[in-house]
């Protein structure tokens, strides 16, 4: 791949990336969340088309991968992070979805099952081809996905975070399959956040950062430290907060021994023994990679997810929180991660949206629209929500302004503790800085704030203290002054014991 560029709306996802993968090698691709790994792989798999650049495949120069089908024809197969399987169909039907061997349009069952059995043996999965997929474990389903890639006779197989749902023994089995693929001269691209795996399995590694390639290295010649520096090292793009001393301020939020094992599987811990404190006026960031359990933690505290143990104290008082309504009553506010799906009432007005969290204030028997409107107008001006009136429908606002509407809703309830989840995802730099200022001002006014963010420069810019999570646990605590992106990444991506 040569000089690949791709824009999505206002975001330059890839800006001139080169990637060269040899037959029979395992080539790792690393980078932070949003560095462009997935986009690059989607281009290679024909899901997206590049705006610029050239792809050469298997000796053929400048191939055009117009869609997934074309990419398959060229021998590219991708094992997706989110499994692209059909749970109600059998293993065989999944592997040969849409490509079942037929005679006169009729599926040749016998051959289908024979071919499947052969592929299953190759990936080391002992099960009947007729088994419904839903009866397999997550790891076994992953193996089915790999068998599907093999059935395409792929010359290049892309693994996108294949071990995220696997146990160690299953990971070992996967590695055996990969080694076997190597022996058969198949090229493998391996994407993972777990750096230790890369040193175990990969031959070479390419680092991406903000859509730009940082170079390709022999794994034997590079260290973990160097890799992390390449992934995150950059000039700070936001000015750092002057940290005020809050060590004497009262603790506003305390979480003690919070656990959630309800959805726990042998591989995936949801939340384990989480304890932390946030003081008045403090901005604590919860850093970590996607899937580390940060959003789950926030939802558990807010009563929107079950938890099986743990105590929550707000302003020193133990509170019972079983629903978001309880949480709000206790002085807690949560700005959700996905504003369109979980935050906004898109077809309603700004005023209706801002009033949603504090309907009680506007009267029980005669809802005071004028008051709701006046409040919304006040916040529209304060937060500079670009719009013509509080009566404007939220759908027609830009992302940054929509986020401000959600924030306004929670400012209206005057929370003691505010949890904001990915507050600046998908909004432009100007609006980002405004949201950061808003968060700082709130803290200065005495609110205790927890910021969940995958954007490391953002974490460093706003937070006075950082908690790093990995696999449902808090694995590190860093002070605002001596934290660096490298330190955060180390806690977030390395095994605790290592």
């Amino acid at each position: 791949m040569h000089g690949i560029r791709k824009r999505f709306g206002g975001v330059q996802a890839l800006n001139g990336v080169n990637l060269e993968v040899r037959a029979g090698e395992v080539h790792a691709l690393v980078g932070e969340n949003g560095a462009g790994k997935s986009t690059l792989m989607h281009i290679l798999a024909g899901v997206h088309q590049p705006d610029e650049g050239r792809i050469d495949l298997d000796g053929k120069a400048n191939v055009i991968l117009a869609n997934e089908h074309a990419a398959q024809q060229c021998g590219v197969a991708i094992v997706f992070q989110e499994r692209s399987l059909f749970s109600s169909l059998s293993v065989a039907e999944n592997i040969f979805a849409g490509r079942q061997p037929v005679k006169w349009g009729r599926i040749k069952r016998k051959q289908l099952y024979q071919d499947t059995a052969l592929l299953l043996r190759e990936v080391g999965l002992a099960c009947d081809p007729k088994t419904p997929l839903s009866e397999l474990s997550a790891a076994q389903q992953q193996m089915v996905e790999i068998a599907k890639a093999l059935s395409l006779n792929a010359k290049l197989i892309i693994f996108d975070e294949p071990t995220a749902a696997l146990t160690e023994t299953e990971t070992a089995a996967l590695f055996r399959v990969i080694v076997d693929l190597k022996r058969r001269n198949v090229a493998v691209i391996y994407i993972s956040h777990r750096l230790e795996e890369i040193f175990k399995i990969a031959d070479r590694v390419t680092v991406l950062k903000d859509g730009v390639g940082q170079g390709t290295f022999e794994v034997s010649e590079i260290t973990t430290d160097r890799l992390i520096t390449l992934m995150v090292g950059r000039a700070l793009s936001f000015h750092r907060a002057e940290t005020q001393d809050v060590s004497a301020a009262p603790v506003m939020l305390e979480v003690k021994g919070l656990n959630d094992r309800s959805l726990e599987t042998e591989v995936k811990t949801v939340l384990r023994d989480i304890s932390f404190k946030v003081r008045q006026g403090e901005i604590v960031a919860l850093a970590g990679l996607c899937g580390a359990g940060r959003t789950e933690l926030a939802l558990s505290i807010f009563g929107a997810r079950p938890r099986d143990s743990g105590e929550i104290f707000i302003g020193g008082q133990r509170v019972e929180i079983h629903s978001p309504a309880d949480a709000i009553a206790a002085g807690l506010a949560y700005v959700p991660e996905d504003r369109k799906e979980a935050g906004l009432f898109l077809d309603m007005t700004i005023a209706q949206n801002t009033a949603a969290g504090s309907l009680k204030e506007f009267g029980t028997w005669w809802f005071d629209d004028a008051k709701g409107h006046a409040k919304a107008e006040e916040f529209r001006n304060r937060l500079r929500i670009a719009s013509y009136s509080a009566k404007q429908v939220v759908q027609s606002l830009s992302g940054g302004n929509q986020q401000k509407v959600v924030l306004a809703r929670w400012l209206l309830i005057r929370p003691k503790v505010l949890i904001v989840d990915e507050p600046t995802r998908g909004i432009d730099v100007g609006a980002k800085a405004e949201v950061h200022n808003l968060i700082r001002d709130l803290a200065r006014a005495g609110t205790a704030i927890v910021v969940i963010s995958s954007d490391l420069p953002e974490v460093l810019a706003v937070a006075t203290r950082m908690l790093v999570m990995r696999e449902g646990r808090i694995t590190g605590e860093l002070n605002g002054t001596d934290a660096t992106e490298e330190k955060i990444m180390r806690h977030a991506s390395m095994k605790v014991a290592a």
Partner: protein, 331 residues
Amino acid sequence: MPEVLQAESPAPVLSARRSPKGMAFSRELGLAALTIFIIILFSVLYPVTFKSFGNFNAILRNLAFEGILAIGMMFMLVGGVFDLSVGAMASMIGVITGWLMKNAGWPVPLAVAAGLAVAAAGGFLNGYIVARVRVNALITTLGTMGVFQGIALLIGGPGITFLPESFTKFGQSEVFGVQAPVLLMVGLAAVAHYCLAHTRFFRQLYYIGSNPKAAHLSGINVERLQILSFTLMGLIAGLAGIVYASRIATATSTVGVGAELQAITAVILGGASLSGGKGTIWGALIGVFFMALMKNVLIISRVSSEWQGIILGAVLVLAVALDSIMNRKKS
């Protein structure tokens, strides 16, 4: 309140995207205009048959039953769900109430109260299955529709006739020449309008209909409200069945067949959306009135009953399509 950004100068209101006047179009007003147009047109075309007080009274009398159902249905659609069991519920409650007073010999008020209690229980059952057990509303109410209809036929056979006079007195009485069921509908609409437009409690339905997840995270008790609105719908449907039985002095087991679709049609014509979060009681009333008017003018113009169905069906699709096109142009 932490005084956020207080230090900054009052921000200029940025980029007025489009004039607020563009938003003024609403389906309620459009339909009202169309209704008036039809009235004027047919007053000119059929000055004698159409433009008489008797004819208007007949239109109103016939719409009371569907009007009461449509009021309840508006609550449902605002909250993002609908109830297909209302017609069968009306039949069943009419028959149960009739059976209690005629066959079991209960006093009329007690029979009516019992009927309404059963109605509320049936509605609660719907709500519980949809909100707690989380079965899709279409499936749930399609199922209970069959159950309620079956119970109505089991108890009433084809129907229970010659209901006591103390019961039928209400349905057949008139005030200033307007039948009591029509007045009841208007009274119910007034109360419903007040609730939906002005009380905090029912306002929450708009949020739930618009985005249930965001509503939950905003501290709104989505489950409880949904169960309650289904219960209310059951109660209103039961009331409609009782009032109808009172008017015609007979509890017919099949009186509500197809009424659920009529009610949903009327409510959608009047501005509700199947995706929830939209609609007003006044819109529901216009929708019902428009449907009744259309039927009336089709009868007066001697359009055959086969064509009436075709025309009414086409009107529904056309109205919603027009709305969808207008909305797309706006954005």
